[in-house]
Symmetry: C2
Subunit: 206 residues, 2 copies
């Protein structure tokens, strides 16, 4: 498949969210213009984004809301469940485990690991926290799709290496480091410090 820009994929996710809102409101069809207005972009952008994957609209009318939502779910690969592990049972990890949007989209946390003996053995939302030393033993042939890294910066790379060796191909990284991974492994970073500094820059340069 033709390479699609990351920015495009993110907008598709947004469109899907808006379509679901519209669906809840009982709106049957929506134009690229309405979608653009909701998302702070332009109608041409919306149509171009969709055009990479096919033509889903009806000229003169717009897009059928439930149908387009369905197509976007397909495109984004949301038609299935994803098995997710959490590395690091700290504050952020705890917030993630209880985050309902996670479940709702089919992302299921199946294992949690930590090093802290005080945490190991505890149950979090029904999942027992395991010793990270048992990572390889526990995950052999488990078919894990995504690893969420919520550890201190110092250990993130070492854990990433172990994850990669286990064949996991997607990582959501909250540790404030740039991970080095093979190019067939997808990494998305959530870096709070970066966001704050971008705001600081914006406040400074106006």
């Amino acid at each position: 498949m033709r390479k699609i820009a990351d920015s495009t994929v993110r907008r598709l996710s947004l469109y899907l969210r808006f379509l679901e809102e519209f669906e809840d409101q009982g709106i049957a069809t929506v134009s690229s213009d309405a979608l653009a207005l909701r998302g702070g972009t332009t109608s041409a952008q919306v149509r171009k984004d969709l055009s990479f994957f096919g033509s889903f609209g009806k000229r003169g009318l717009g897009y059928a809301v439930p149908e387009l939502a369905g197509r976007l779910r397909e495109i984004l690969g949301l038609g299935r469940k994803y098995r997710v592990i959490l590395l690091g049972a700290g504050k952020i990890g705890s917030a993630l485990v209880q985050y309902r949007g996670f479940q709702k989209r089919g992302f299921e946390i199946v294992e949690i690991f930590d090093v802290d003996p005080a945490k190991i053995g505890k149950r979090w939302n029904g999942v027992e926290v395991s010793d990270v030393a048992s990572l390889e033993a526990k995950l052999r042939d488990q078919g894990i799709d995504i690893a969420v890294l919520v550890t201190p910066a110092e250990v993130a790379q070492v854990l990433a290496d172990r994850i990669v060796k286990l064949g996991i191909k997607a990582v959501l990284n909250f540790a404030p480091v740039q991970l080095a991974v093979p190019e067939d492994v997808a990494v998305k970073n959530v870096n709070l410090a970066l966001e704050l500094e971008a705001l600081s820059y914006a406040l400074t340069n106006r």
Copy 2:
């Protein structure tokens, strides 16, 4: 000032982080190539990014680590403290309050608000949780720089409007909605669902 791309600003933040690492290791000078290697980019990119703001290097030698770090802090506006308020005393908010990188960079949480009577009055890391109804009263002439929104999606826009009316010019938004704000207000979104769906897309289309 000439418009600088968001991607550039984010890379500058990264460079600063790397420079601080190098400083800790006692490294006195660094080349654009070394910096690029550390950050997974190219030396030309590093030099171009810096060139928007001046020329900080010495040909034949590279960049003086502490000096460049200082210049980047200036550029990013990190030479001062920022007064931050937290809207929403939930799980993520709790994680943020205790996040040390926050303090370290001069972002100080001075007020926390919630609607839940069970939370109002409690102390979080030394800061009392206030009723969100008292937002305007508490913040008048308080000189707040940044608001962090960690509320359910439903109330985020209403709160954003109130924040804007109070003259706050920067928002870090964790609610999974696209906020509508005047264009002189900077908004950065942290949207977990978007990141997960980008991973889902990456896993699906390979």
